[in-house]
């Protein structure tokens, strides 16, 4: 599932096959860097006020915090193929999907900080991010994204539109009943749905081997007549190549598909996680496969970027992320009365 690095010749072949050009790949690199910088800054601010004693309620960012550092290539590989009007339903670990779907980083950060200027005026927070202008939503409930994306796909088809819907979920969520139920419905109705399992090998702290009776989820999807693929989730090009195939197919009325992207999160399940379920060596092994330097190296091999270009893209992304965090930090908190508004439309 983690594929060996291709030779320069094969790399050219793979890139051509995926119909990726220099601009697209440089943009993807910048996106990966933006997500990484954004999440590193969130992690940094999250711990303010939470030392020496870790208290989830203290500091400028309250509550749980689930970061996707390491998993950026899955989000960017899939979402860079989507149109703004395509729907994405994400999970409790949603920042990378949101940014990749084009959600404004400032409003995203402000929501994570619980500010009035946030996407949801501070009512959603880190796990409940909604941006209807980008057709992005998520849920803090494991397994909830599958049927909701299927519902959006159902509506698109009913309304005669060509949009597709994407459900992101972790490999733990794929053990939820909604996974099987939704694949059955999607296969039955031939919905324009793409299910993306981000298999980072752990459901919270539970290793995949302790929770799954087989090895892969793609086999289970196939049993519902849903074409399914395993991709190297640490490799943007591999994710992109398969995502392009299935998204185009769904858009053209040829039904649902599943992508199982094997990837890894470098940070714990949540910030503050002691991570006793895995070794430091394991994390280091996966860090060697980091999607960002991996893509950077390939851009150099292809002659599409030199070190200076990569540095510039990385710096631009860092600045954009910092501006978002500063916007969030300097925004006002909502008025308390806001809590009583908006239960009904």
């Amino acid at each position: 599932m983690i594929k060996p690095e291709p030779s320069p010749q094969d790399l050219q072949y793979l890139v051509a096959q995926a119909e990726l050009d220099a601009d697209q790949l440089r943009r993807a690199y910048r996106q990966l860097c933006l997500i990484r910088s954004f999440e590193n800054l969130i992690a940094d601010r999250y711990y303010i006020g939470k030392a020496p004693e870790f208290n989830m309620a203290a500091g400028p960012i309250r509550g749980e915090m689930h970061l996707a550092v390491g998993q950026e290539a899955v989000a960017v590989g899939v979402c860079s193929l989507l149109e703004e009007s395509d729907a994405v339903v994400s999970t409790h670990r949603p920042h990378h999907h949101a940014l990749a779907k084009g959600v404004e980083p400032k409003k995203l950060a402000a929501e994570i900080f619980g500010k009035a200027s946030g996407l949801c005026h501070g009512k959603g927070g880190h796990m409940h991010l909604f941006d209807t202008s980008k057709h992005f939503s998520c849920s803090g409930i494991v397994g909830a994204s599958f049927p909701q994306a299927a519902g959006a796909a159902f509506a698109f088809r009913k309304l005669g539109q060509r949009q597709v819907a994407v459900a992101f979920a972790g490999e733990g969520a794929a053990n939820h009943g909604t996974f099987a139920e939704t694949l059955n419905v999607a296969g039955l109705f031939q919905l324009p749905l793409v299910v993306v399992i981000e298999d980072n090998l752990y459901a919270d702290s539970t290793p995949k081997w302790a929770a799954l009776s087989t090895v892969h989820h793609f086999q289970r999807a196939q049993s519902f007549n849903v074409p399914s693929y395993v991709v190297d989730g640490m490799d943007l090009i591999d994710v992109y190549r398969v995502a392009k195939l299935v998204i185009e197919r769904a858009r053209n009325g040829m039904g649902p598909a599943l992508i199982e992207a094997v990837c890894y999160r470098y940070r714990g399940h949540f910030e503050g996680d002691a991570e006793e379920y895995r070794t430091r060596e394991e994390v280091e092994r996966w860090r060697a496969l980091d999607p960002i330097p991996r893509l950077g190296e390939r851009l150099k091999v292809l002659g599409w970027a030199d070190e200076a270009t990569l540095n510039r893209l990385r710096d631009e992304a860092q600045q954009e992320a910092e501006a978002a965090i500063q916007f969030a930090e300097s925004s006002p908190l909502p008025e308390p009365q806001e809590a009583l508004r908006g239960v009904f439309q």
């Binding site: 729907a87 339903v89 946030g118 996407l119 949801c120 005026h121 501070g122 009512k123 959603g124 409940h128 909604f130 941006d131 209807t132 057709h135 939503s137 849920s139 803090g140 409930i141 909830a144 599958f146 049927p147 909701q148 994306a149 299927a150 519902g151 959006a152 796909a153 159902f154 509506a155 698109f156 009913k158 309304l159 949009q163 819907a165 009943g177 909604t178 139920e181 939704t182 059955n184 419905v185 039955l188 908006g342 239960v343 009904f344 439309q345």
Partner: protein, 338 residues
């Protein structure tokens, strides 16, 4: 005008009339085509609109409720049939964590126009997993509007209103009021206009005027309370009967005004007693009419046991005309406290 027997045809007719001019209405759920949703709430729609708009789903409450959430968020108005309300457990996460909350959590961005129609109630021997009422569970959760029609006229007008609402609305149709041939019927045939009309939410109906006590009820408990009131009238006791019609929003004004007039209140509820509708209504009434109450508010509800199967057991727990009559009579006999 023509006479209609029961809620089922009235609800199905309301959906039909709205579907005819609103392309965004799509019916989803279990057995909604051939069987018209088991309790008849979608009967007649399939031959008219076909599988494109009347969609049988697999028995997957969680997933079809989630599909409704997703479909509503991008422009459809799904009408979801949950066969028995008792099955909400299997679909509850999508209902209470998403359907009810996404509008609020998104800061008002996400519309959630979903109408869920489900069957409630016992009284025909279907036991504990098929006879519950449970509207209190849903009314407890912010974000749902709760409709409990007791008459065919109300069922049609309130359903039309629900189908135009941008919020999630749950319509609870009592099985013994559906008017279907395979179930006992405790309602009455009544005049229902053929043309479209709307009833507002949050307006209780005073079904019978009275001066000695107020009986508050919803669903099947309305006709039972009216029958009890008839018997009380024969003994010179004048009971006012209020049909709540919607639990969310709740018409506090009518309740308080009636309690101030009669000074005595009996709440009749087919849901479980504790932490439910009867406690909520009692609280709201005392908050608005304490000075006028001549006796503590009384309530009759299912005494916190699952609905049993055997006839004498079931009859012992679901409020009957006889027990409503007895409770009301003894309440009127209670002397004023002050």
């Amino acid at each position: 005008m023509r006479k209609l027997k029961g809620l089922a045809f009235a609800i199905a007719e309301a959906i039909d009339q709205e579907m005819a001019h609103n392309e965004r209405l799509v019916v989803l759920g279990e057995d909604v085509t051939y069987w018209g949703a088991v309790f008849g709430f979608t009967m007649g729609l399939f031959p008219k609109y076909g599988r494109e708009r009347v969609v049988d789903t697999p028995i997957t409450e969680q997933t079809f409720m989630g599909m409704a959430v997703g479909a509503a968020s991008v422009g459809l108005h799904p009408v979801v049939s949950l066969m028995f309300v008792d099955f909400c457990g299997a679909g509850f996460d999508q209902m209470f964590n998403h359907m009810a909350k996404n509008h609020y959590m998104s800061g008002g961005q996400l519309p959630m126009p979903v109408t869920v129609i489900t069957a409630i109630g016992g009284g025909y021997g279907d036991a504990a997993q098929h006879s519950q009422v449970l509207y209190g569970l849903f009314a407890h959760l912010p974000g749902f509007k709760i409709v409990v029609p007791a008459t065919a006229y109300d069922a049609k007008g309130l359903t039309v209103r629900a189908l135009a609402d941008p919020n999630p609305v749950i319509i609870f149709g009592h099985k013994l009021l559906t008017g279907l041939p395979f179930l006992p019927f405790e309602g009455e045939e009544e005049e229902v206009p053929e043309e479209r009309y709307t009833l507002e939410f949050g307006q209780a109906a005073v079904r019978r005027q009275g001066r000695d006590l107020t009986i508050v009820a919803a669903g099947l408990m309305v006709p039972r309370s009216l029958q009890a009131a008839e018997r009380l009238a024969q003994e010179g006791i004048s009971a006012e009967v209020i049909d709540l019609r919607t639990l969310v929003p709740l018409d506090e004004t009518t309740l308080v005004a009636s309690a101030r007039k009669t000074g005595r209140v009996l709440i009749v509820d087919e849901d479980y007693m504790s932490y439910g509708l009867s406690g909520e209504v009692a609280f709201r009434i005392q908050a608005g009419a304490l000075g006028s109450l001549k006796a503590p508010i009384q309530r009759l509800a299912v005494p916190d046991v699952p609905i049993p199967f055997s006839e004498p057991l079931e009859s012992a727990v679901i409020p009957s005309v006889q027990r409503i009559y007895e409770a009301a009579r003894s309440l009127v006999g209670v002397q004023a406290l002050a």
